[in-house]
């Protein structure tokens, strides 16, 4: 979609979330919604992230804690199953890792430039509880 020209914006400090008319938006999945160019959903707003969460589905129990607690709605879940992370909107705050209850955790923070497959291959083992 072409960028809006400097003289094409509507008057007022207002932006439209969707292109055209919407209907039953609550019943429409994000990927099927006609988000406009000016919607934050269409833009990457994660430029300043320096650490990122990496998701290891082998240990995930789909408890949805990360989905509930994520302040930027960047945990992607479908049919109550954790699918992954929306890296265009995740700011790297680490709350999802903090609330993850599994052992080992299913989400861990790594430097932004870390390779996901390498980190999953070297994922920490289950911690034994000290008695």
């Amino acid at each position: 979609m072409a960028n809006t020209g400097w003289d094409e914006f509507e008057i007022g400090a207002m932006l439209r979330t969707f292109d055209g008319k919407i209907d039953d938006i609550a019943g429409t999945k994000q990927e099927d919604r006609a988000y406009s160019q000016s919607s934050s959903f269409s833009a990457s707003v994660a430029d300043w992230r320096i650490e990122k969460p990496v998701f290891n589905k082998d240990f995930c129990i789909d408890c949805q804690f990360c989905w509930v607690y994520c302040p930027d709605m960047s945990i992607i879940a479908r049919d109550k199953k954790m699918i992954g992370i929306d890296m265009d909107h995740c700011k790297g705050c680490g709350i999802c890792v903090e609330v993850c209850p599994t052992n080992p955790k299913s989400l861990l923070m790594f430097p932004e430039q870390a390779d996901e497959e390498t980190e999953i291959a070297g994922w920490p083992a289950k911690e034994k509880k000290e008695k």
């Binding site: 008057i11 007022g12 207002m14 919407i22």
Partner: protein
């Protein structure tokens, strides 16, 4: 919900506040969010009583401050309603942050400002300090000199402000106490005629249009902010005045009362002129008539539309004048005075070459008497006779003690 209409007499005895409240009632406002402050209190008090008596259909929201009052108005306007409120002085000052939000968001809100001095020292009486505080806020500012005009200007305000080409908020000013609490005969319109003039409110980009969701009050940084502000300023300066003049013309057809962005009295052959606002205009007109009997060709210019400043209209009105007095009813606090500056700006790149004197007067409700105006006209005529300024460029009128002007 149904509401009752009111049978008004052709001429009602109203003060400026009640005239404004009646105009708001007749415009059928959707939301009034208000916090009372002297001397504007009776506007919202009167409107509240109308609401309680089932004469108003819309919502009346009582809030905890003027900041909240204007914030409520902004929310209601963004939601798609006809919105108005009233304030004065300190309350106006507390609203200032949100005034810029309203104009930047291009929301047509009408704000009745009953002009009052700004503390410190605390003072409840009329001067134009609050009016001047709002002059860079991006609002349209109309000035009413009497209760009749406070009534009339409210209709003009809604008509212009809500025009989809304009979409800028509008203040209607009246002088605290001198206009707001002085009862005079006010020619009324019946409810249907009055509402017919402003018409049904036509929402634009309203938040309650759920099929077309919008975000209001967005953030733009260096990449977009300037374009928004430049276009807003351009709309204010180019689109508003033609709409004001059209509204004035339509209003004249309806009521016979004629208004102009720049009001001229005895100006056709004038040598000297006083430029002022508010209730001072009427006093100046009376004195100008008396000066004419003494052989001074005296005229008066009243500013009806303060913002957008009638740059070309004022230049045209003053092009033949030899000596001009700019009367500012607000302490300039670090400059010659708003009207002095604006008149100088409007005249400097023209063929006119008048002598311009600035006068600061009436702070905190200090009277401007006929004697003061006689002295001003006498000075102006002395300047004309001498062919040069014979007085300081800036003077204070009616202040005790040493002369404190800096120019």
């Amino acid at each position: 919900m149904a509401f009752d209409k009111v049978e008004l007499k052709d001429i009602e005895v109203w003060d400026g506040n009640y005239a404004a409240a009646q105009a708001l009632r007749q415009c059928q406002i959707d939301v009034v969010a208000a916090y009372p402050i002297t001397p504007s209190t009776p506007i919202v008090e009167g409107y509240g009583a109308m609401k309680a008596n089932n004469l108003v259909e819309g919502e009346f929201v009582m809030v905890e401050s003027e900041h909240a009052a204007m914030s409520g108005c902004i929310g209601a306007a963004a939601a798609g309603g006809r919105v108005a409120t009233a304030t004065s002085s300190q309350g106006f000052a507390l609203m200032v942050e949100t005034l810029y939000q309203a104009s930047g968001m291009r929301l047509p809100i009408v704000l009745n400002v009953v002009n009052r001095a700004l503390a410190a020292p605390l003072n409840v009486n009329g001067d134009h300090a609050d009016m001047y505080l709002g002059r860079d806020s991006g609002w349209i500012q109309l000035d009413a000199y009497s209760p009749q005009e406070a009534y009339d200007m409210n209709f003009i305000a809604f008509k212009v402000s809500e025009d989809h080409d304009v979409r800028l908020p509008c203040m209607v000013h009246q002088d605290g106490f001198m206009t707001s609490h002085t009862a005079q005969g006010v020619h009324t319109m019946d409810d249907d005629t009055a509402y017919g003039f402003v018409g049904d409110y036509k929402p634009m980009n309203d938040m309650l249009d759920f099929e077309h969701p919008v975000t209001h009050g967005v953030q733009t940084e260096e990449d977009w902010h300037f374009e928004h502000k430049a276009r807003q300023h351009n709309d204010l300066m180019t689109k508003v005045m033609p709409k004001v003049e059209a509204a004035f013309a339509e209003f004249e057809k309806l009521t016979g009362r004629k208004y102009n962005p720049v009001e001229k009295y005895d100006m056709d052959d004038a040598d000297v002129a006083v430029v002022c606002m508010g209730t001072s205009v009427e006093t100046a007109r009376e004195v100008a008539g008396e000066m004419r009997e003494k052989g001074v060709k005296a005229g008066v210019v009243g500013i009806r539309v303060i913002r957008p400043f009638p740059f070309f209209e004022i230049g045209e009105a003053l092009k033949e004048i030899k000596a001009i007095a700019a009367l500012d009813r607000s302490s300039p606090n670090g400059a010659p005075g708003m009207l002095f500056n604006e008149l100088a700006g409007a005249l400097i790149n023209t063929d006119a070459n008048p002598m311009l004197s600035g006068f600061v007067y009436g702070l905190g409700g200090r009277d401007l008497t006929k004697k003061h105006l006689e002295e001003i006209y006498t000075q102006l005529q002395a300047n004309v006779d001498a062919g040069k300024l014979t007085t300081p460029q800036q003077q204070f009128i009616g202040v005790r003690g040493p002369k404190l002007q800096f120019l």
